[in-house]
């Protein structure tokens, strides 16, 4: 298949050791656009937009940052944020750098935890990319929607 120069660069940056240690694709062999489309369909089923999810994730991140590295009890959820030194670019290649912030959100009700980075929030909002299956920071849209109790029943 013919690929534009941008596309070619794109795939390289998603590989291990380029921006993060194990890359963004995990063991997913699908094309980046197919992953985005498949995850987008899950959101559609629940009548949610990318920005809805990203806003909610940002909210938790901002609450967590206030307590520096400690745990923050938000009633139904417990949030903890780790902030490491340095900045990283987005693999989609637009200019700008993102701080290395990792957020843990634990739901007391379901006893489940999700983990995401500030970069994942950006990628969900801007590109609809939730990570390749099996990658370290992959968020499963359905898990996130259930944990954050967003959207309707879906089906």
């Amino acid at each position: 298949m013919k690929q534009t120069p941008g596309e070619q660069q794109l795939e390289i940056r998603f590989r291990p050791g380029q921006i993060t240690k194990s890359g963004f694709m995990g063991d997913d062999t699908r094309h980046i656009h197919d992953i985005i489309e498949a995850d987008g369909k899950v959101l559609e089923r629940f009548g949610l937009k990318k920005a809805d999810i990203a806003d909610r994730l940002t909210l938790f991140m901002d609450e967590g940052k206030k307590e520096l590295e400690g745990k923050v009890d938000l009633g139904e959820y417990v949030v903890q944020v780790h902030w490491a030194r340095g900045l990283m670019p987005c693999p989609f290649g637009e200019p700008g750098l993102h701080p290395k912030v990792v957020v843990h959100v634990f739901s007391k009700a379901s006893r489940q935890e999700i983990r995401y980075s500030q970069l994942s929030v950006h990628m969900i909002r801007k590109h609809g990319f939730w990570g390749g299956k099996g990658s370290v920071f992959r968020l499963e849209p359905i898990d996130v929607i259930r944990l954050l109790k967003m959207g309707g029943n879906g089906e």
Binding site: K2, Q3, T4, P5, G6, Q8
Partner: protein, 196 residues
């Protein structure tokens, strides 16, 4: 078949039998690189250059090597290899003298090799049994025709940027519709002169 003067073929290739709009060859890069007039013009020039050179070189090789030895069936391989070599040369040339154009064209520069218009022209000139001069003019004309259409399209698309286009039609959708309308416009020329 009556003999057509090289000049006639040259103009026919540009207008009445435009390689892009009547044969729909070379659509791929036409759709992708027609966003800015400047880059479109650069690619158009590159395609014209490659077309002219390769039609001449392929003509020579076909009639001095392939035909005398009776191995015309090899023409597909030989033509494409030659096209590839010319494109490589062109790539070095552009990289040296215009880095900006080189980055803007990106992958589409080496991909001129598989631009179907290039191989199409070389094969047409064999099928239509053109003479050497006719072939070169046909190549140059086709290239200029391609350049004309892609620049026109880039001009239209630059203006489209400010227009409200239904979301479903954005990108390739609207471009295909526009090229259809442009093709109809070019068909209007076809009464003037006919080449096959």
């Amino acid at each position: 078949m009556e003999y057509l003067s090289p000049i006639t073929i040259f103009f026919a290739a540009i207008f009445t039998s435009n390689i892009l709009l009547t044969y729909f060859l070379g659509m791929c890069s036409f759709l992708s690189v027609s966003k800015q007039i400047k880059t479109a013009f650069g690619l158009g020039l590159a395609v014209t250059f490659v077309l002219t050179i390769t039609s001449a070189l392929n003509y020579i090789i076909y009639y001095t090597l392939l035909q005398p030895f009776g191995i015309e069936y090899l023409r597909y391989i030989v033509f494409i290899v030659l096209v590839a070599a010319v494109v490589q040369l062109l790539e070095m040339f552009i990289q040296r003298f215009s880095e900006v154009l080189y980055i803007n064209l990106g992958i589409f520069l080496p991909l001129i090799t598989v631009n179907c218009a290039i191989l199409g022209v070389s094969l047409f000139m064999i099928i239509r049994e053109y003479t050497f001069l006719q072939s070169v003019f046909f190549g140059a004309g086709s290239g200029l025709g391609w350049l004309l259409v892609i620049v026109a399209m880039a001009g239209i698309r630059e203006r489209l940027n400010e227009q409200k286009i239904p979301p479903a039609l954005r990108g390739a959708g609207i471009v295909l519709i526009i090229s259809g309308i442009m093709a109809m416009g070019f068909v209007g020329f076809s009464g003037i002169v006919q080449i096959q």
